[in-house]
Symmetry: D2
Subunit: 329 residues, 4 copies
């Protein structure tokens, strides 16, 4: 690949590990209400997936003293792509080295981002193999559509807080090939990035970065895809009927154009469910769409209901978070 | 009520009894896939309801040698309304007399229509009382929205075959106060009624009558309400994934303007699921909308897919049925 | 009709007259964005209807110095029903007498409610007769579905403020036959009614009454029916793209179970668009579902986003309104 | 890029040119009912786009004696990618050479596939620049969401007939880098490909190839994306109300998992509208999902309504087409 072309080595968000102080409650939420299926139980961890996720799992739930992010796993395009990215990461000094693997995948290279989150890159994966009772009549579906929950089709994206959004964005772009799709910038200087949405796929974002006050980054939310706006109303019903706190929605973001519902899973992590996947980005010369901080309201909620303060203040693990609006001010 | 005003004594379809040669299969279909809850088991019968049905049950499943209709139950507006209708029915000679009641309701007056179907009128009903575990956070909901199945909100309407549609329609109109909302008539004579849609509510139809070849009437289908077009796609998914035969849909009828999906429950009875409830009729001087037999195609399916022959030929109990199109010719 | 049975003389909300200081802007909003069609222009007034409204109009827009309600028109079941209701109204002292009629209907009997709003009862109506170019291929549709706007199917309900909600509710119930379906009551006394939802149809409400501070009642909102939750997202898009202020939504009310989007039409009146029509009430012995004032939050918004203060404070004509929450306190 | 990695040079379907014997009728269909906007008129051709298509146009309508395909335009990732693909095409002998460009894009390299369809590859494109009146309040939207039609968001994919599906599939894969996502194969030999679905994006297919009887390939359909299942019911309404023939739908394909409605535009070309975009494919080692010819029914229509014979027989230009089912037999 000639030097003046983009890095195309990362291909998808493979899995997210969430930490939860209420493992049983979190498993009930993701399996019964979100309609995800359990692939495997291990000591202290439960592995789950949506019915259209192709691999062993897309979500790992791990018992812990506090809610938060365990790690992020991205899959690469090829063994050579993995070698290229490991060399690039090691050159930055953020590399941590190889692990033998985990349930559902082989050896993985782990590293920390400038925001302090643990990530890993994987090539070898185990495909989910449905037992007869779980096999779908649809040959291109890894498993049968569940008869309960909304149900969840696949993992979609995640959102992290970062002490220095621009530095983390630059690392993800220059070292891993993420493209910045949209950003919130200072009113008086479009070069000052406050929040950033990036992807390596045709999705408008595989992840988002929002401001954090000073310490290491935390988890703002993880998002799963259900594919219909109707599912947002269905999920709101299930949340209300089962004592799950809905933070906001249904609504539509202008950024990414996705529709959303936000709720708090029993472990305390914020979960987003996306209906309309928004607009895909195929244009290889797409330039970052920049929203001014003063336009954040409409950028965040295109429909008619502003986010409550908690959306700007709460992340996991739960500590007082410097407000995004404060950071913006 | 002065003589020149309409009869307003019947107020709603309360329940339908279906006969099934596969009681376990039918119960699994209605509870797990349709998301109805079981109110009571009795020897040979199981009683179910949708989560917004207010009474003890809206569906009674009874084990039998063949699929078909057990009986239809309508509720009246008041004790006086019941007395008035019983007198009117007895005057026609179609009355059969009182029964002490059934699970979920008190004494009922039974009668047969000219089409040969067993009906009953009831006043005393038992409201569904949810146990704590089943209580909804929505105070105006009789029970919690289920976390499985589409799920079904309430019973909607039913469709019967009749040897003489016009005679049965006249009986229902003159004796019980049903208003004919729409009809299919002969191309050359709008006074010759081939099929009829009637209601006592604001719904476009509480029941429909379609032609039958010579013998006593049978059951074409029973319909349940889920309230969203999305639920028709969801239900199609659940049917395909669980070996339930989908006969037709999703689609929209021009008659009644409702959207639909038709499937065959394990006992063999045809079930319709309705998404968009169509247009309600509030106009007290609404005149019957008449479709010519030659317009039946668009009247039956406004969207883009014609019904398969089975829709015109199959009813329960299953015997060779004179085709509606034949009857029309 | 025996004395112990309910009054069944009113059958539907026929039309609402809105006053607007920006007649051209209001007409553009209701025709281009709401997809209603213009039936007639008269000096100072424009008459519109949704494509499934059966009569000449369901909305009359009249130029005025300030936004607000002109009058409400209900249709009765029969000429005798009209005579009965006029006698009952005259007995209360609230009657104002007959007018010759208006575009689209014949003589009407006008009266004021205890809340000070002008209402009229009508029997003679003009059905909408579509010109060839506007005729629908669907014979039971009064006119072709428009190719623009969401579009609106029919008028649904309205919401008024009242200095004394209970007194107005009693007048509507005892004199006109409205049934109270749901209510918000004082936490410490369920007999103290703060807000009330009433209907004469199977709808959960044809109108609602909310508290007003001391002076004559005003208009909180008028609602139109589009029939799908998707239309709420579509309408939000059209509002944002055309400079219409969205106040709240999409969301679902627990009261009535309808889904909603609220926006301010150019004249300043609050408009609601309803997607899911919620649960119909067929039960003749339905008892009022009572929500405590402390439960108002979930009763008003079942989904995840609280109403902004304006929802509790703004009505037309726009004057400082005693807060509902204040009234509740 | 090392030799053992895939070709990543094509990035998206940029535009399709349709030939129509009724240019005015086709323009009215795509602009008024599909809600696409007109970018430019040229002698004999009109250029249109959906409101989220980023470039000058995604659809070129050209007056001609018969309906059919003009040409297909794909965009490449970079100038170097264009050079690489041109060299590869020229090596196959299918190349035709460079043209100076067309409205909306610069120089393009044209070639014919083994199926006989004209394609072109482009790098230089003109972005759509909205006039003030057409500018969206959503900064990441190239133009305002229209207030009429469904409306169309973007072009999605196309389907062509091919005398030799496997040979054309191999050309697209080996020369251009298309990945085969799904296929219909002979019951007795999975290596015999009857139909093929391919993409260079995360979409399940950017194009499909179906059998043709002997002569050069033709057009089966072009598909546009609207993003909601509700829009399929809305579009069916608009088609019926405006004399547009609906061929089939709403329904869901198992192949690709997309939901669909098929209609015939006034020029005679078959158009598909897609609601649910189906499952995206992120897995770089995704292997072709193979459906046996005997499974074609469920593969084509997962929901409950089989395609009418015309779907298997009609393509444009309209000549007797060897039936796919015959080809399968």
């Amino acid at each position: 690949m000639s030097a003046d072309e983009s890095i195309l080595d990362l291909v998808q968000l493979a899995h997210v590990e969430l930490l939860t102080p209420d493992l049983d409650g979190s498993v009930d939420f993701f399996s019964r209400l979100m309609g995800m299926s359990i692939s495997e139980h291990r000591t202290g961890s439960v592995y789950l997936r949506g019915y259209e996720d192709p691999y062993h799992h897309s979500l790992k739930l791990t018992a812990a003293g506090a809610a938060g992010l365990g790690h992020i796993g991205f899959r690469v395009r090829s063994p050579q792509a993995l070698e290229r990215r490991v060399r690039a990461i090691e050159a930055t000094g953020y590399g941590r080295g190889w692990i033998d693997g985990d349930a559902g995948h082989g050896r993985a290279y782990q590293f920390d981002t400038p925001a302090g989150h643990r990530w890993e890159l994987i090539w070898d994966v185990d495909y989910y193999r449905a037992a007869d009772a779980d096999r779908s009549a649809m040959k291109n579906r890894p498993s049968r559509r569940p008869d309960h929950g909304i149900p969840t089709r696949r993992i979609d994206h995640f959102n992290l807080t970062a002490p220095d959004v621009a530095a983390t964005r630059d690392f993800l772009r220059d070292t891993l090939g993420f493209m910045e799709r949209e950003a919130v910038v200072a009113d008086d200087n479009p070069e000052i990035t406050i929040a950033s949405w990036l992807s390596v796929t045709n999705l408008s974002h595989d992840l988002a970065l929002v401001p954090e006050g000073g310490r290491a980054g935390r988890l703002h939310h993880v998002c799963f895809y259900n594919g219909t706006n109707e599912s947002l109303f269905d999920f709101a019903d299930l949340c209300r009927e089962n004592g799950i706190r809905i933070e906001h929605g249904p609504g539509r973001h202008a950024i990414g154009k996705t529709t959303f519902l936000y709720a708090m899973e029993p472990g305390g992590n914020r979960i987003e469910v996306v209906g309309d996947p928004g607009a895909l980005i195929f244009d290889p010369t797409h330039s970052t769409v920049k929203w001014k901080a003063s336009e954040l309201g409409i950028a965040a909620v295109w429909t008619g209901s502003e986010f409550p303060p908690s959306f700007w203040q709460y992340a996991t693990p739960d500590e007082a978070l410097t407000h995004l609006d404060a950071a913006v001010a």
